[in-house]
């Protein structure tokens, strides 16, 4: 009341208002300054009014960011699905306009972009996030909690437990898994045949991998036997697809979940470094390709051209690199590309006493903490997670599904390769990939140590010692554990 009174007094004094029977009778504008002020005031009122109207009649806006590469395939299907969602919402009477942002670059810059956007509160509503960095982002409270949404949500019930665990932090779920992978030892059957090796190959120990590679080297000069990579420039797959599964195969782990510490020295870690030392000394890999910034692309190309024999890599490569229309398409792929599980160092010697090991990561949907429409964002995620739709995405991208209902669809089962590698999820051990902090100093120092072995600077002992010291320096002595 006082405010209104004071405003009236001010207004009367400023504009020399004359009142008659309590009503405003005349406004006397005596100076240019007053005219200007009044003009500005009227403009502000008009603008606010018009903006309000515009907001009231325009559809709600939602944005989604994905890392889809150069487009085509999945992106086109996703765009169609988003259009379908918009139509569905319009029919419901709650129109929504969705903006699809497709990031075309590599993984690491995408993660940096996501981190910067989330930190500054400018991230799109729905995000496509890798599981590895997702753990750190969950800890940073970058995502909207999904507990209320997934309660009694059937697709969540169908999700495998290991993925549920990877999507959660401190008892709350923050991400919805949409795709994963298995790690495969791909081999060229045609090269194996020429070298006199069995084309139906399933190694049961590391010795069998190395002896097959040595035979290739002896019989087929000019062919690179093994396509392992190393060094931080070569990217995430140095450790995710190659080193970590081998470490588990040797019976080791990088992270002690009970003690919450990084195991910086251990016998299995040393054995794994020795594997790299052995394949380097025997010249079974090409160091120049192995540490290149585009090592994975080069390795995929060499493999497609029949100049590389064995490539341990993700299951996605079968479609995305070598499938029909892919950049390094192998026309008779199903005839010449064989695939095998990663064996334990020797039968039963792996981390959980398994004969084989697997690594599975994946990509997931999350809602940004700064989203103005989290419920609407959830409706979109729900829509995109419908069983047949999800099966379509997984099939076209060659990605392993994270849900039982998706795996059981006819569409998914049509792909012989996908159906088989999906069964390898039983061997998967996701740690430390999903451990908070893994994608920083631990991974970086590990990649560096591997790279140094590959270029011949260090032997296995030196690599492990250097890795241990560097990680201790980066994280502090309370975060590391020496067990050797």
């Amino acid at each position: 009341m006082n405010l209104a009174k004071n405003l009236r007094k001010y207004f009367r004094r400023r504009f020399r208002v004359k009142e008659k029977r309590g009503k405003i009778f005349m406004i006397k504008l005596e100076s240019r300054k007053n005219v200007r002020l009044l003009g500005i005031f009227l403009l502000i009122v008009a603008f606010t009014f018009l903006t309000g109207i515009a907001t009231a009649v325009s559809p709600a806006e939602l944005s989604i960011m994905i890392k889809g590469g150069r487009g085509g395939g999945w992106i086109d299907i996703l765009q169609e699905d988003l259009n379908e969602f918009e139509n569905k919402m319009a029919e419901k009477g709650t129109p929504v306009k969705i903006e699809l942002n497709n990031y075309e670059g590599k993984n690491e810059p995408y993660i940096t972009k996501l981190a910067l956007m989330l930190n500054s509160g400018t991230a799109p509503d729905v995000l496509y996030v890798e599981s590895g960095i997702g753990a750190d982002f969950m800890r940073a409270n970058y995502f909207y909690p999904l507990d209320n949404f997934i309660e009694k949500w059937q697709p969540w019930e169908e999700t495998f437990d290991m993925f549920k665990k990877a999507m959660s932090w401190a008892g709350h779920a923050y991400m919805i898994p949409i795709q994963s992978c298995s790690i495969v030892i791909y081999y060229r059957k045609d090269l194996f045949e020429k070298a006199g090796l069995d084309t139906k190959w399933q190694p049961t120990s590391w010795d069998e991998i190395i002896s097959a590679a040595e035979k290739i080297k002896a019989e087929l000069p000019g062919v690179i036997p093994l396509l392992y990579t190393g060094g931080p420039e070569a990217g995430e797959q140095v450790t995710f697809s190659r080193f970590l599964p081998l470490l588990h195969a040797a019976g080791g782990a990088l992270y002690d979940e009970g003690k919450n510490k990084w195991l910086v020295t251990s016998e299995p870690l040393l054995e794994t470094f020795k594997f790299y030392e052995e394949i380097t000394k025997k010249e079974l890999i090409n160091p120049q390709i192995a540490i290149d910034a585009d090592a994975d692309q080069i390795a995929a190309k060499i493999f497609s051209e029949g100049k590389g024999a064995i490539n341990q890599f993700g299951s996605w490569a079968y479609e995305i690199f070598w499938g029909p229309g892919a950049p390094y398409e192998i026309p008779n792929r199903d005839d010449v590309v064989g695939y095998a599980k990663i064996p334990a160092k020797s039968p039963g010697a792996s981390f959980r006493g398994q004969d084989f090991v697997n690594q599975s990561g994946g990509w997931n949907y999350a809602i940004a903490h700064n989203s103005k429409n989290p419920e609407l964002a959830w409706e979109l995620i729900e829509f995109l997670s419908e069983t047949e739709r999800q099966a379509g995405y997984n099939a076209i991208k060659g990605n392993v599904a994270t849900r039982k209902d998706v795996i059981m669809t006819d569409l998914y089962q049509q792909g012989e390769f996908l159906a088989e590698v999906s069964a390898w999820l039983e061997y998967t051990y996701m740690t430390p990939y999903i451990n908070p902090g893994y994608t920083g100093a631990p991974r970086d120092n590990l990649q560096r140590a591997i790279g140094r072995i590959i270029i011949g600077d260090w032997n296995a002992e030196q690599a492990m010692e250097s890795f241990a010291k560097a990680l201790e320096n980066d994280l502090g002595s309370e975060k590391v554990l020496y067990t050797k």
Partner: protein, 296 residues
Amino acid sequence: MKFYFIGRLFIMNKKTIYFLIPSLVLLIIFIIFPLFWSVIIGFTNQSLRGETARHFQFIGIGNYLRMFKDSGFINSVKVSLLFIFFAITGQLIIGLLFANLVRIKGIKGKKFISSIFLIPWITPGLAAAFMWKSVFIWQYGWLNTLLSIVGIGKVNWLFSYPLFSILLVNWSRGMALTFLLIGTGLEAIPFHIYEAAKLDGVSPFQMLTYIKLPLIKYSILVALLVNTFGTLSAFEMIFGLTNGGPLGKTEVFAIFIYNKAFRDLSTGYAGALSFVLLLISLCIGIFYIRSIKVEN
């Protein structure tokens, strides 16, 4: 004196300050505030991931102490020192050489030749990096093609000689400024000094060492100052060519800071590293400016 002069302007004409405001605002937003902010976060454990992303804490000089135990930091300092030394030496020698060559009597097309030297300098760093990558590419680069023609064979330059490769690119771009500055200095030497020296029977080498170099010392110092700063903060060219690889062999300080900030997402640590780079640059700048003043 300066302050008084500005003070008088301020008193005499307040409208002057209105014209300065836009530039001041931009300066504060894009230079001063980020500078102070990066110094401040250098004393925290801020990161773009994990618990310290949105709730970081003051950790004092923890980041600075970490540097001295960080093998990556020590490596980047070593690489930077090597790179700066060879870069500015090479730029100086090549710039001096060509500045003298184009002034030899009888050479035609001096202006055209001089403008050719400027092209690498005006080419943006990243564009230059990608162009040179096509030169150095192991299988298809034209340098290896030339070497194959003369029977030498292919070399993986970016793998086997990464530091030399980036020095080559740096020389091609950096020597242009030295060429210009030294050229200006040479043009300023009075002609009668050359004549007098010739009458005394000096050789070309003696002309260079006893006549030209002493008289263009100031130009050389200025060239060294500018080139040192440019090389100290060299980033886009190295980023485009090797990104600090292979395995840190070309990871100069600027690349190391970038990787810490945007690959490891450790912005607090990167802030501390940036401050160290700023202090080093200040020290070098003060040293050079004092040398130039003494020369004057």
